[in-house]
Amino acid sequence: MKKRKSSTFWWGVLPVVGFLALWEVIARRGLISGHLLLPPFSVVIREFFDLTSSGLLLENFEASLLRIVIGFCAGSVTGILFGIIMGWKEILRRTFSPIIALLYPIPALGWLPLLMLWIGINEMLPIAIIFICSFFPVLYNTITGIRQVNKKVVDAARTLGASERYILFHVFLPLALPNIFTGLQLEAGMAWRVVIAAEMVAIPTGIGALMMKAESLIRVDIIIVCLMILSFMCLVFERLFIYLEGKLTSKWK
């Protein structure tokens, strides 16, 4: 079993190593026209260390991370709370569903012009965008999770003497967890994509803003460093929620 796992790992790593090697060779030998716009991978890595040691990367990374943590936590917690209430109480779901159905399809970045006017260009702007980006999908997944709980299981809990509140916390919520985590997983990565976009358009700090500055200086290596960080952080956030879900539900799922 161990052998099979390690061979699967290497089959995953090899294409990446091959791609990086090819990139390095193509960039070093100038095999494509306009090769100045494609620095070798080793140069990108060196730039990553330079940016890190100068503190510039960390400063911008921290700014983006903080916005994401605040916006994503606020959006997710609110989404989960509203989702639980709406999934649990049919009347509330029926009342609010049309409004949510109208707002949900608007892409998070579509709110940007409106929020720039309402909130202004300040720290609250990307946080509000991330909040919107996280809120709706988590809300939808939570409602679905609660509503998918087998009605007979709930009836079984009732006949066993459980109050509605007890059932909410001990039946509905644990059984809706896989759905809630699906929403969180999807949106954790999306939050990074959205914050970068918001920073590129309107905010002077953060990874997105750093990319825009690099673009004006034609520093492709810095842009690629930022993209690699974005890719890595999306992956880390998604994996974090997969891990947490596994921890909480793998025993019984």
Partner: protein, 351 residues
């Protein structure tokens, strides 16, 4: 344990159902799918809306929600909590009622050992519990909060025949030892003779007939009741001679049988079609209740084969599983031996 009474229960399926279940009794509700059996259980449990009244020991419980009715409910597909292991499932009702940790532990431990589930205590329902084990966990969970009424909704449907039969016997033993008023729903007429003190036949939301198994079996009030009971073989007794130790020999139309006897005159004897065995060869052992006959007709209604066999001047209606019948390699006109097991013969006493 209370006497449960239903008066004029009417809702989307039930149409003025009146029913009384005695203290400690096991009443079987027999009916086809959609007849309203499960709805009646839900009415008793407080899970379905209704007009009319439900009383436990004369006290109306109509205004009580399900959680306050002290009812244990075993659902058709068990409905175990998948996120809780076996002992947590059993403890659910006790914790919901706010019992102390030590009381919960004591009760769960008691039920785990009486249902022989100790070795499965930490296992989750979807992680390697067999159907029979799930059923035992669900029953232990239903009984944990000391319910006064036990409701069982076709609990053995999803199990294989042998396991189901074993568990029916176990359930009956548990029901007797807990002396708990029980309503058992089934659409399977074979279960009726094994389970209930009395049966109530439900048809299109009404109670069509209620009585002891013998009463309903020997005198079905309507065609629908008779067909639900599988059209039993009923024979008029011409004469009977008491033998020893609770058995008597009865003479029917051209055949004689040995039947259970309790000292009262015997008027009729009956046996269900699925309780009669068929053999090509003469069965070994004493020639008691082993009759020689000729196959009159064979009708396949998969997975059952209905066979009519003439023995003496009586015609026996026999039901066999298709594979059993195919193994016998018989056809109409063949001679066969039929065996009528003593324990499946029902006797109607005369005046």
């Amino acid at each position: 344990m209370p006497t449960v009474e239903l008066k004029g229960i009417t809702n989307y399926i039930c149409r003025g159902v009146n029913l009384a279940i005695e203290n400690g009794e096991l009443l079987v509700l027999l009916g086809r799918t959609g007849a309203g059996k499960t709805t009646l259980l839900n009415v008793i449990a407080g899970l379905a809306p209704y007009k009319g009244s439900v009383t436990f020991d004369g006290v109306e419980v109509d205004s009580l929600p399900a959680r306050k009715r002290k009812v244990g409910y075993l659902f058709q597909d068990f409905c175990l909590f998948p996120h809780l292991n076996v002992q947590e499932n059993i403890a659910f009702g006790l914790r919901a009622k706010g019992l102390s940790k030590s009381d919960v532990f004591r009760r769960v431990d008691e039920l785990l050992s009486s249902f022989k589930l100790q070795h499965l205590a930490d296992r989750y329902p979807n992680k390697g519990l067999s159907g029979g084990e799930k059923q035992r966990v669900a029953l232990a969970r239903a009984l944990a909060p000391w319910p006064e009424v036990l409701l069982l909704d076709e609990p053995f449907n999803s199990l294989d025949l042998r396991t189901a039969k074993h568990l029916r016997m176990e359930l009956k033993r548990i029901q007797r030892s807990f002396h708990i008023t029980t309503v058992y729903v089934t659409h399977n007429q074979r279960e009726v003779s094994e389970m209930g003190d009395r049966i109530a036949v439900i048809h299109k939301g009404r109670v069509e007939q209620i009585g002891t198994y013998g009463e309903v079996f020997f005198a079905p009030k309507s065609k629908s009741v008779s067909s639900l009971l599988g059209s039993p073989n009923i024979f008029h007794c011409k004469s009977f001679t008491p033998l020893t130790s609770g058995i008597a020999q009865v003479k029917l139309n051209g055949i004689s049988l040995v039947v259970p006897y309790d000292g009262c005159p015997i008027e009729k004897v009956a046996i269900s079609p699925w309780n009669i065995y068929v053999s090509r060869q003469k069965p070994p052992g004493p020639e008691i209740n082993r009759l020689r006959g000729i196959i009159l007709s064979v009708r396949r209604t998969s997975p059952i084969v209905n066979v009519k066999v003439k023995c003496g001047n009586e015609t026996l209606n026999i039901e066999l599983q298709e594979e059993q019948w195919d193994d016998l390699e018989l056809q109409a006109g063949n001679m066969v031996f039929v065996i009528l097991p003593l324990r499946w013969i029902e006797v109607k006493r005369g005046e």
